[in-house]
């Protein structure tokens, strides 16, 4: 089996921000990506404070340890960032931080898609 990095295992075993956000769904944006058929399915949620700062994150993930750890690492990194700064966060940074094995990098991109979807939804919600 794959040798996962210590950082990846730490996030996998004690994930940050898992579970969906509580409260009125108009208060946060939801992004979904992936398909069970391909072994990854992500639901990602972000809530923004008045100053356009991400103040709450939630997610659910079906996937390998790299998938779950990526969701967790992003959750840890996203809270407190402005929407613009959050958009600068990329799958590439996750790959480096968690030392994601080459054959799992596509999973991180699916997580990135879900996060982008959530950011878009959250900003749309704010603008309407």
């Amino acid at each position: 089996m794959t040798d996962w990095s210590p950082a990846l295992l730490r996030h996998f075993r004690s994930p940050v921000g898992s579970g969906l956000l509580a409260g009125d769904s108009t208060e946060f944006g939801t992004g979904e990506a992936g398909a069970v058929k391909s072994g990854v399915r992500i639901v990602y949620q972000l809530a923004l404070s008045d100053g356009d700062i991400i103040d709450r994150v939630g997610w659910l993930a079906f996937g390998c340890p790299a998938t779950i750890a990526s969701c967790s690492w992003l959750a840890e990194s996203l809270v407190g960032l402005s929407v613009d700064r959050a958009r600068d966060l990329t799958g590439g940074q996750v790959m480096v931080a968690l030392d994601i094995p080459r054959d799992r990098r596509s999973r991180v991109l699916v997580v990135e898609d879900a996060v982008r979807g959530a950011l878009d939804a959250a900003t749309t919600m704010r603008d309407t």
Binding site: L20, C64, I68
Partner: protein, 395 residues
């Protein structure tokens, strides 16, 4: 390292008695003779050891010892049986058709692919959702030019057994030979040739507490089933497997067969009870679970799915405590997953969550209780993270 080893279908630890029996044949001063060197005692004692091991293998199978050909693995034994009998026939312009099944081990299926490239026609029988093949399908697949039917006794991923005696009965009066891959079954259930009526049978020592790197092909000596050898050379093993015999390995295989013969059938009942305890224990946790494969199964293998969680995540989570196998290889190396589960028509949520636990000689009921607790804890944790479940709420 994981504390508890529950992957005995992959390989088993050496039995201490097997190691003990092998050591004298790895000596620096004695026990190193070449069994073919009949001119001196070094060779003759080695040859006697090989012949004793041949009898031990044959006794376990309740078959004549002349039928035993030692090989380097079950993979080699299978290749010998499949390629050897088909090439023998095809080179003489006789039949070129083989029947096998979609859930066979890759050693059989890849050898069949090679035969296809050499001009053979291969029929691969399907299985139903339980992993069982239909005798009617087999009957229909048989042709006048069918040379070989190759089926496993018990499946290495699910444990599902084919009714080999019924297959043999069906082949009565048909010239096709029957090869049985008994690699997973030997040592776990009685594998007796008089009952199975197979013409060829493959096994491997490391699956039943013998050493790695040695197996055997039993082929009916009378009337002799003819095979085209894979290896040419000094004519060892009745000319069918040239190369100096690995005496210590062969002795280890023989000893493992002796131990297995003594332990059966009580060991079969013990393993069955462990597997049933495992499945009942996990079911009692209330976590939705599917057992993949049904009907007659080998006693030591359990292939399970927890729909909604990813098998790889489960395995990584329990790895510090339990060594088990993924039911379905689904890394990018083999994105299509297990060919066995696919043949059974499992949907993706089941096949991606499948994992295999397999018990062995040293597994105890207390080990099973630990395994149930560890698997249940991880499954519950991962299901809480899963979007394929009724939705959880962040805490």
């Amino acid at each position: 390292m994981a504390r508890l080893y529950l992957d005995h279908a992959a390989t088993t630890p050496l039995d201490p008695a097997v190691l003990e029996a092998m050591l004298p044949w790895m000596g620096c001063d004695t026990g190193f003779g070449n069994p073919a060197s009949v001119t001196h005692a070094y060779g003759r004692t080695a040859a006697a050891a090989v012949e004793q091991a041949r009898r031990q293998v044959a006794d376990l199978l309740q078959a004549p010892a002349e039928g035993v050909i030692f090989t380097g693995s079950a993979t080699e034994a299978i290749n010998m049986a499949v390629l050897g009998s088909m090439r023998f026939s095809m080179q003489r312009g006789r039949g070129s058709h083989l029947v096998t099944c979609a859930t066979e081990h890759s050693a059989v299926l890849a050898a069949c692919e090679q035969l296809r490239r050499e001009g053979a026609t291969i029929t691969v029988l399907p299985v139903d959702a339980n992993g069982q093949l239909s005798l009617a399908d087999l009957q229909e697949a048989l042709r006048d030019d069918t040379v070989l039917v190759s089926l496993m006794l018990g499946n290495n991923e699910t444990g599902v057994c084919h009714d080999i005696a019924a297959v043999a009965a069906l082949l009565q009066g048909h010239p096709a030979r029957l090869h049985v891959d008994a690699t997973q079954a030997v040592g776990k259930v009685p594998v007796h040739l008089p009952a199975l009526q197979a013409d060829l049978l493959s096994l491997s020592a490391h699956k039943f507490h013998g050493p790695k790197g040695v197996g055997a092909l039993w082929r009916c000596p009378e009337p002799r089933v003819r095979l085209q050898p894979l290896l040419f050379g000094g004519g060892q093993e009745s000319g069918e497997r040239s190369g100096t015999q690995a005496v210590h390995q062969i002795v280890g295989l023989g000893e493992a067969c002796g131990l297995a013969a003594n332990a059966l059938p009580a060991e079969m009942q013990r393993l069955t009870a462990l597997r049933d305890r495992l499945e009942a224990g996990l079911r009692a946790t209330g976590i939705p679970m599917v057992c993949n494969g049904a009907g007659r199964r080998l006693p030591h293998i359990s292939n399970l799915s927890f729909p909604g969680l990813h098998g790889e995540a489960l395995l990584a989570d329990i790895e510090p405590e339990l060594a088990v196998a993924l039911g379905s290889a689904c890394s990018s190396a083999d994105a299509r997953g297990s060919h066995v589960l696919r043949a059974m028509g499992l949907d993706e949520t089941l096949s991606l969550s499948a994992f295999r636990l397999s018990v062995g000689r040293r597994t105890t009921p207390a080990d099973i209780d630990v395994a149930v607790a560890v698997v249940a804890r991880s499954a519950q944790r991962l299901l809480r993270l899963s979007p394929l479940q009724p939705r959880g709420v962040a805490g």
